[in-house]
């Protein structure tokens, strides 16, 4: 029997980073419809940093969270509607309650890879409401496999039904992924997943490594539409998984059609591994920072490569976009004084 992989598709969430969170309700509806036709199991929708993240810090979204979710909800029947949630941005009362009412099926509650305990109440709440809930550890390259296992076990104890580790900076090589996923599979009683970024051109290879090490949940977006260099390209991933004997339940032709539709209707530019994305991956900096770094380096006249490496040196985490301005000012000041 073929081994099954559960696919979660954040084209309409991570992809929002690529267009500075400007996806419209019409674009969301259009892609959701195509994703439903392709039988993609989970369609994740929202601001790039998830529920409640529209802000001057990260970027304001063109339409509100609930409007985005409703637009997708109307088009999804067999496919489940998913959201990303980060405590510290979203709260239960302001955001999660409303998302439950709008009809979200799957909540992926995320935290920086060492901060799992901030997700306790949010995971618990979603379980109480009878919805599906996963724990997500972001920027997972920053810590050892042992720490990841420890943090995952906390989320499991709060009620998470699976744990996904994110390579938010696109910093992993396949051997890094194999080692971490194997450790989590050994430590946990719930499914393990992987979310890749393509800064070093490794996203598909890393996702395959994850599956081979026992991961049963994989994330991918069509054309790799997502932050920075983009995500694991979903249509490539499905082709490769099929060739390797995994089943995903996705209609391959319809998926290719969905990718065409998305390329035509929601992408300004198809993500590519630009010079700056390689630097970002090497520096281990959150992919979502790329647009901000681009802007700040122009505004303050500093080399974006220096900016990325300095941010990496300071070990910034997702959500610390304000530091980009500070570091850019700092670098600009040094340049002047030299």
């Amino acid at each position: 029997m073929k081994k099954k992989i559960l696919i979660s598709d954040p084209t309409l969430r991570d992809g929002n980073h690529a267009v500075k969170h400007q996806l419209t309700a019409e674009q969301i509806a259009r892609y959701a419809e195509a994703a439903e036709a392709a039988q993609i199991p989970i369609v994740e929708v929202g601001h790039g940093n998830g529920l409640g993240a529209s802000s001057l810090q990260v970027g304001e979204s063109a339409v509100g969270d609930m409007e985005m979710l409703k637009a997708a909800r109307r088009k999804l029947v067999r496919s489940k509607l998913g959201v990303h949630v980060m405590p510290g941005f979203a709260t239960i009362r302001k955001d999660i309650e409303k998302a439950v009412e709008v009809g979200v099926d799957v909540f992926r509650v995320g935290a920086h890879c060492t901060e799992a305990d901030v997700t306790r109440r949010h995971i618990g709440y979603v379980r109480e409401r009878g919805k599906e809930v996963y724990g997500v550890l972001m920027m997972s390259h920053m810590v050892s496999k042992e720490t990841l296992a420890e943090e995952s076990l906390k989320m499991e104890s709060y009620g998470a039904e699976g744990i996904i580790i994110m390579d938010s900076a696109g910093a992993y090589l396949p051997s890094d992924v194999t080692e971490r996923i194997a450790e989590l599979v050994k430590a946990l009683n719930i499914p393990v997943g992987f979310h890749g970024h393509n800064n070093l051109g490794m996203a598909v290879a890393n996702s395959v490594a994850a599956a081979e090490a026992g991961a049963t949940i994989l994330d991918g977006t069509v054309r790799g539409f997502g932050a920075g260099a983009g995500n694991t390209q979903l249509e490539v991933l499905i082709a490769v998984l099929d060739k390797m004997g995994y089943s995903t339940g996705i209609d391959f032709y319809k998926l290719l059609d969905a990718a065409e539709i998305a390329e035509r209707e929601i992408m300004k530019v198809i993500p590519a591994i630009q010079s700056i994305s390689i630097v970002s991956g090497l520096a281990g900096v959150f992919s979502g920072f790329s647009k901000h770094v681009e802007r700040a380096s122009k505004e303050y006249g500093v080399d974006p490569r220096d900016l990325f490496f300095e941010l990496g040196r300071r070990k910034v985490v997702a959500g610390q976009e304000d530091l980009i301005i500070e570091v850019a000012m700092d670098l600009a000041g040094k340049k002047v004084s030299r």
Binding site: L56, G88, E115, R121, V316, G319, D322
Partner: protein
Amino acid sequence: MKKLKVAILGSGNIGTDLLIKTLRSPVLECAAFIGRNLSSPGMTRANSLGVKISDRGIEAIRSEPDSCDLVFDATSAIDHRHHWSVLQSLGKIVIDMTPSKIGTMCIPAINLDPCLDQRNVNMVTCGGQASIPLAHALGRTHEVDYVEVVSSIASRSSGPATRLNIDEYVETTEDALAFFSGCAKTKTILIQNPAVPCIDMQTTLFAKVKQPNLEALDREVKAIVAKIQAYVPGYRLLAGPVYENNRIVIMVKVQGLGDYLPRYAGNLDIINCAAIATAEAFANKNEKKDTDQRSHAPRR
């Protein structure tokens, strides 16, 4: 002068740091340090400092109501509800360190004096103490459409209660920002960063305004920063106010005094410095009242 007797309820990071600051104060005296577990690090520390300790929680005050005049509640928002009902009936002044939203919100640089007429004063949140004065300066100089505050703190500086109460932190800070800036639309974001060496607390305020007037804002900001520095020595303006990308940006950094937690824990320090400043103001007010009464007493 006679010192004001205070009890500290809660023996975690906040409570223990408050203890050390209380012991240093010329006008406060720690009458009791109260928790639930005699072997916790905070209790051990208090014991070694020769402070009277108890593991009986609020019962310790109920059974000896005359032992203190003012109580710092450094437990949790949920526990504070119950504590307040007891302390209110005992007639205690309460300085609430939790984001319970029961008492009058106090930012010493803004509204210390009116708070001294209240019996329950709430210290909002650490991010609130750092950012609200800036939002207040903004509100005095601008018609503000939107205010947003982002605080980054070192993971090691936030204890289990802070982590569990992250939603209350966000919502309480947002409410207080709206109250003190006069702008209804507010947003708060909290980021915990585990980097080693630990990062200092840093807070950024972003705002959208109708007509930016940086000169007036700069003056107000400098004035209020000086006021804060009088009770939070490690508070400093890092950048701004600047207008970039159609938004006002102000950044501050807060280093702690290194009393109980190391200096990076500016988040813990700023709310505690604010609480101590408030308690000392209560003490000075009491002392003044006593002196006045004495001088007006008829001579025999």
